[in-house]
Amino acid sequence: MTALALTAARPQRRPPRYLPLQVMLGFLLVYFLIPFWWVIVNSSKDASGLFGGGSALWFADNVDYWGNLVQLFTFQDGIYARWLVNSALYAVVGGVGATILAATAGYGFAKYRFAGRRSAFAILLGSVMVPATALVIPTFIMFSQLGLTNTIWAVILPTLLNPFGVYLMHVYARDAVPDELIDAARVDGASELRIFVQVALPLLRPAIVTVLLLSVVSSWNNYFLPLAMLSDNRLFPVTVGIGLWQGIASANNAGSTSLWSIIILGSLVSVIPLIIAFLTLQKYWQGGLAIGSLK
């Protein structure tokens, strides 16, 4: 398909501007957006609209976002709002913490030649390849002996670890912070910490935003870790909470058809914050995501 489109588009470079390619993009767009469309349409329906045999890709006669929203936020004493707050707390605290650690460590690797640097860096790179989920079960057992499971720390502390973030910061800091600038600041008598905060950090901003965004996303989207660590449903992030509802709704299909409306709307509401974050911060991450791959 691409082959055809490319050859066809070559002769007339301007006027229809790669029409076949754009048509192809249009089809792709439909594919990538259809789940969103389905969720937007179907979160307006009640149980009879969902199961009543109407079109699954169009609104039912009764469009009732408000009614479903009220149901979503009042079901089980409004536990859904709590899940949203928990997700935000875990994502922001974990993400900001991980970014600070990545920025200092990445800068340290990039700008200091200290004993053991090579082996430390080799270990760091090796750790990028360790799958995060392989650590969940042993971390759970460790935490349960320390009495940390089923607390917010059980979710926040492990998300502080982001070796790939350190690697990105290292690559970026190496080129973005000139040695001459650091030396000049030293000559002026600035302390190493002050150089980092006042000279290096502003130059590292694109990498910081990228690592922050990546850490926040991975922690907001995390499922396995909180699923393993938490048993009190008031501590759940929204991913685990919706997973729980979905399990209940699937298990007794007949009795809980009304639960499906709030699961669908709950899914929609839970993705809105990150979509907004990505759309507003696109200037930063579009360049930042390339950091690791340009070298």
Partner: protein, 314 residues
């Protein structure tokens, strides 16, 4: 690969090296001071759990006789345990199909977006990336809805052509169903990485090639793809690490696809089941550790084989 990556430490002039040597001790200290906070987290939440998992995996906890040391008994058990091996075989098959498909899709889209620069193309780029912002759990759920017989649109759409809708939640098609979800979720992210790499290529190269009579295809195959090889290696590594630890999507679809996805569908699900449903922590740890080791070794071998061409770890 660890050797290569150290080599391109910024080259310093003789003079600077000498002037720095005087303050080596101070440099040692401040260098480590910057690493220190991360190092604590690294030791606490990566090194410690890994070694703890290794330690736990050397024991067995039996109803009668309590905990006893079995050395590699758990691993011997795992590698003869059909439930575990089936899961391993599934993720291997899944990776073999998924990774090329996913890379092809993301590469094709990135190349198209690199050529077409209309505002519609810019809009598409953003929208194709959007699924990355969606939690895997919600993504799997959304597709689960679409696949569902009770409220999905498949019957409707296929009905238009007089065909029967495929059931992607059935035992036969769950492989395809999951494949589709993962491609949908990640292709946009990989596409952005490749697109950014393509944008980093000096356009003068294309001009020069065109003067030499190269057509669009030759430019793609001879210039663009070789120059973004490091980015391709990077996303391949990501995809490999991600797929071998497959958990979220099948775990979520388990309820919707009753019967097609068992509790031991992937190695990670099996480890979860052993640890949390059966409280068999030692065996669960052994599976986790074995999985981690397998992923590590696979990726390491892969990077070793490709280190000449695309050296992402530089």
């Amino acid at each position: 690969m660890t050797v290569d990556l150290i080599e391109d430490v910024p080259v310093q002039t003789e003079g600077r090296v000498r002037s720095r040597r005087g303050s080596t001790a101070r440099h040692n200290l401040t260098g480590w001071a910057f690493l220190f906070p991360f190092a604590i987290v690294f030791v606490a939440f990566l090194v410690a759990p890994l070694f703890y998992a290794l330690y736990l995996s050397l024991f067995q906890n039996q109803m009668i006789g309590g905990t006893r040391f079995v050395l590699f008994g758990n691993y011997a058990k795992a590698f003869t345990d059909p439930d575990f091996l089936d899961g391993v075989w599934f993720v291997i098959r899944f990776s073999i199909v998924l990774i090329p498909a996913q890379m092809l899709v993301s590469l094709a889209v990135a190349l198209v977006l690199d050529i077409v620069t209309t505002s519609f193309a810019r809009f598409s780029r953003l929208m194709i990336f959007l699924p990355y912002a969606i939690p895997a759990v919600i993504g799997a759920l959304m597709w689960g809805f679409l696949y569902s017989k009770s409220f999905g649109p498949l019957a409707e759409v296929f009905g238009l052509f007089g065909a029967n809708a495929p059931d992607f939640l059935s035992r036969d098609l769950i492989f395809v169903g999951l494949l589709n979800i993962v491609i949908w979720q990640w292709a946009g992210y990989y596409m952005i990485i490749l697109y950014a790499a393509l944008q980093g290529i000096d356009p003068n190269l294309y001009e020069a090639a065109r003067i030499d009579g190269a057509n669009q295809w030759q430019i793609i195959l001879r210039i663009k793809i070789p120059l973004i090889a490091p980015a391709l290696v990077l996303i391949l590594v990501f995809a490999l690490i991600g797929t071998l630890q497959f958990f979220n999507e099948p775990q979520i679809l388990r309820y919707l696809a009753a019967g097609a996805i068992t509790a031991d569908f992937t190695p990670n699900m099996y480890a979860y089941q052993q640890a949390f449903a059966l409280a068999n922590y030692n065996y669960g740890s052994a599976i986790s550790f074995a999985l981690g080791a397998v992923v590590f070794v696979c990726v390491y071998i892969f990077l070793f084989l490709t280190r000449k061409r695309g050296d992402f770890l530089s």
